[in-house]
């Protein structure tokens, strides 16, 4: 990586006056240059260690400790081995939370991706005002989640919510679905809101991917009779594969750890119907003050995310190699 020195970000600042090093004996200069290189590396390294390395290690260690409110004052956290893990896995709510996490993630990703792709395809065909409409699509991203979830709670309210009032006007709908208050519908309601929230991300990235596909391919395809659905499956999807992988894997990792949407809408209820591993971990740590058990659950979640992150890195590397 010594040659990487020529690619240092400082180069352009220096106006490209980086001298050739050919034939120069290594000496004070080389040492000094190396020191300079290191000085550039140190901030990034320190940043990574401080803000990524330390929290992860701390969390792993914490999960093996009885880490409670007292720990903050005394600094003492007795080592308990795997007891925290045993306790959280033994908790009857855990299997429920694990299943909910799976359903929530799969449901959200399926919805976000399908709708996101449909919207991206729609906007790929330029039409008047498409730019304005496309930027409006980013709105869910711009609204603070805490405000959005409050509004969604109003919309989904059983008795006075806009949705149920609107449904009530339809002739064939009987009764009022209890979106957030029945155990059978709450998870679906939370997934719907999360889909709404995730559409901008999916649509934006997929739209970017669509822009990259050269028009010539479609023209050539059209000459061979591949238009419409055939063009989509034979040209668009194969060309989009790399982007799709990125969107799906990142989507899964983001969705696994979703907390604010659920806390804002149902707080994991009713009767744990929307409790996920993430919300359960939050509850254990910050409501029951059992930070050790909360950390244990958090680590399980990290482990699950890690599987997808590794898959992402591998797929990414293969895409680059290709």
């Amino acid at each position: 990586m010594v040659d990487g020195a020529t690619a240092l970000p400082g180069r352009s600042v220096l106006g490209g006056r980086v001298p050739s090093r050919a034939g120069r004996p290594p000496g004070r200069h080389a040492l000094r240059r190396r020191a300079v290189h290191l000085a550039f590396l140190v901030p990034a390294l320190l940043y990574l260690l401080l803000f990524f390395g330390y929290p992860v290690v701390k969390n792993v260690v914490m999960a093996f400790q009885e880490y409670t409110t007292a720990t903050f004052y005394t600094g003492e956290a007795p080592w308990v081995g795997w007891a925290n893990y045993a306790a959280v896995i033994d908790d009857p709510v855990f299997s429920r939370a694990l299943m909910n996490t799976g359903l929530f993630t799969v449901g959200s990703i399926a919805g976000q991706f399908t709708l996101g792709l449909a919207i991206a395809l729609f906007f790929h065909k330029r039409f008047p005002l498409s730019g304005v409409l496309r930027s409006l699509l980013l709105l869910p991203w711009l609204i603070p989640m805490i405000a959005a979830s409050a509004v969604w709670r109003w919309i989904l309210d059983t008795d006075n919510g806009v949705l149920n009032r609107a449904l009530g006007l339809l002739p064939f709908v009987d009764g009022r679905p209890a979106w957030l208050t029945s155990t059978s519908l709450a998870l679906l309601a939370v997934v719907i809101v999360n889909i709404w929230l995730g559409i901008p991300f999916n649509a934006t990235i997929l739209y970017g991917g669509l822009q990259e596909i050269p028009d010539e391919l479609y023209e050539a395809g059209a000459l061979d009779g591949a238009t419409g659905a055939r063009a989509f499956w034979s040209i668009t999807m194969p060309m989009l594969r790399g982007v799709v992988t990125v969107v799906l894997v990142l989507g899964v990792v983001y969705t696994l750890k979703v907390l604010d949407v659920i806390l804002g809408l149902t707080n994991g209820g009713p009767a744990n119907a929307t409790q996920t591993v993430a919300t359960l971990s939050y509850h254990l740590s910050f409501r029951e003050f059992d930070f050790g058990m909360g950390a244990a659950l958090g680590n399980i979640l990290i482990l699950i995310s890690l599987v997808f992150a590794v898959a992402y890195l591998r797929l990414n590397r293969r895409a680059v190699d290709e």
Binding site: V13, P19, T69, A70, F72, T74, A271
Partner: protein, 409 residues
């Protein structure tokens, strides 16, 4: 050539700069001025909204004046207080005087961060036994709580008069009244069965009044109380949304006329007064049977003195906290924030000024502490209670099964 190197070095230094700055900031601060006389007391509380914020500002300033120090007050949002306290205890920057929600006192006391108040010669005076139970940990007094609140039944006088319904006093009457008052879009009763500690808090008066106990909730007494709530829900006398309503939402429903009665506390008096055309009155929570005692939990906050290691400051803090439970401070706080004195002897003066507090004040001698038996283990059991309530109300479980599962879990 060497200029290139110099500018590169300079760049690297510039890149490192912010990091050095960050670490420099981390190193400073923390230590207070410890030169001689104490001139101010650092107080932290969560009364961050008016009217509570300004009422307490006056009360705290009054006591600071009496002690002869300046007041440095910091208010944080209620949900952030414990996180803030934990952060302050690990960085050894705890304030001189701290306010804690009463069910949190024992938990923080157990961490060792608080000074036992009896060591400082503080006198709880006439504070009721039930309230003191939450302020004690392992036989020592850790907090003084000047005012408290609890739950009662609010009812819309117009709607009840129209329907010819008397305010209920027993569970049977409650069920009947709630059913009679339910009409169209209006429910007879609103309460909070939310999956937070608020839901547990609202269930306790029913559970305790029926002889239930938080140590073991898998008992017929608790199941009967839960059955009452389930009956009310199944009869359509209250909305299924009770499982997501906070007490604030409940008050909104009542104020909007969507519920004829509600279970709630006196902190709503201010907002309810401001609602045009709302006529209401307050009676005690209905008892299981006629004439039975109603046992309710108490709310409100206690004042504690963290261990700061500074004897001079601690001594002044002790004087300050004692002043907060004095008659002048208690009356001002109770009248201003619609709470009742924890010392029943001080109640008449307050009720005279705010008559609606009467049904809350008369409960004070019988109030029960949530942490009286379980202490720092209360949060775990409080979670079990609201989970059982939710499982029974909307999770399709029979009350006794839901309670048994929660007790085992």
């Amino acid at each position: 050539m060497s200029r290139t190197h110099r500018s590169r070095t300079a760049l690297a230094a510039a890149a490192l700069g912010p990091l050095l700055l960050v670490s420099a900031c981390g190193g400073s601060g923390g230590t207070d001025d410890t030169d001689g006389a104490v001139t101010e007391l650092h107080v932290v509380d969560y009364y961050n909204n008016d009217p509570n914020k300004s009422v307490w500002q006056e009360v705290l300033e009054g006591c600071a004046d009496e002690v002869g120090v300046a007041l440095r007050r910091e208010t944080v949002p209620g949900g952030d207080l414990i996180a803030k306290v934990l952060q302050m205890s690990s960085s050894r920057t705890l304030p001189d005087v701290l306010m804690l929600d009463n069910p949190d006192v024992q938990q923080i006391a157990a961490s060792g961060a608080l000074t036992p108040l009896d060591e400082l010669g503080l006198d709880p005076g006439g504070i009721s036994e039930g309230v003191l139970a939450a302020s004690m940990y392992e036989g020592q007094l850790y907090a003084l709580q000047p005012v408290t609140n609890t739950l009662a039944l609010f009812y819309n006088t117009e709607i009840l008069a129209e329907a010819g319904v008397e305010p209920p006093t027993t569970w049977e009457e409650l069920k009947q009244a709630a059913a009679d008052l339910t009409e169209g879009d209006r429910y007879g009763l609103a309460l909070s069965a939310i999956n937070t500690y608020e839901g547990t808090w609202q269930f306790l008066p029913f559970m305790w009044s029926n002889g239930g106990d938080e140590v073991d909730i898998a008992t017929p007494e608790v199941a009967e109380a839960l059955q009452l709530w389930k009956d009310l829900l199944d009869a359509g006398s209250m909305s299924q949304s009770v499982v997501t309503w906070s007490q604030g939402d409940v008050a909104d429903q009542f104020a909007a006329g969507n519920a004829a009665m509600m279970v709630n506390g006196p902190w709503n008096l201010g907002t309810l007064e401001a609602v045009d055309g709302l006529e209401y009155d307050i009676v005690p929570i209905p008892a299981p049977t006629s004439g039975a005692d109603v046992v309710s939990p108490f709310g409100g906050e206690g004042w504690v003195i963290p261990r700061t290691g500074d004897d001079a400051r601690t001594a002044l803090a002790a004087e300050f906290v004692q002043c907060l439970t004095g008659e002048a401070a208690v009356t001002a706080a109770a009248v201003g924030t619609h709470t009742v004195p924890t010392d029943p002897a001080l109640a008449p003066a307050v009720v005279e000024q705010v008559p609606q507090l009467a049904s809350f004040a008369e409960q004070v001698p019988n109030l029960r502490a949530r942490t009286g038996q379980l202490g720092p283990d209360w949060p775990g059991q409080a979670t079990a209670i609201y989970e059982a309530v939710q499982n029974a109300l909307v999770g399709g479980m029979a009350p006794q099964d839901a309670l048994a599962q929660a007790q085992d879990g």
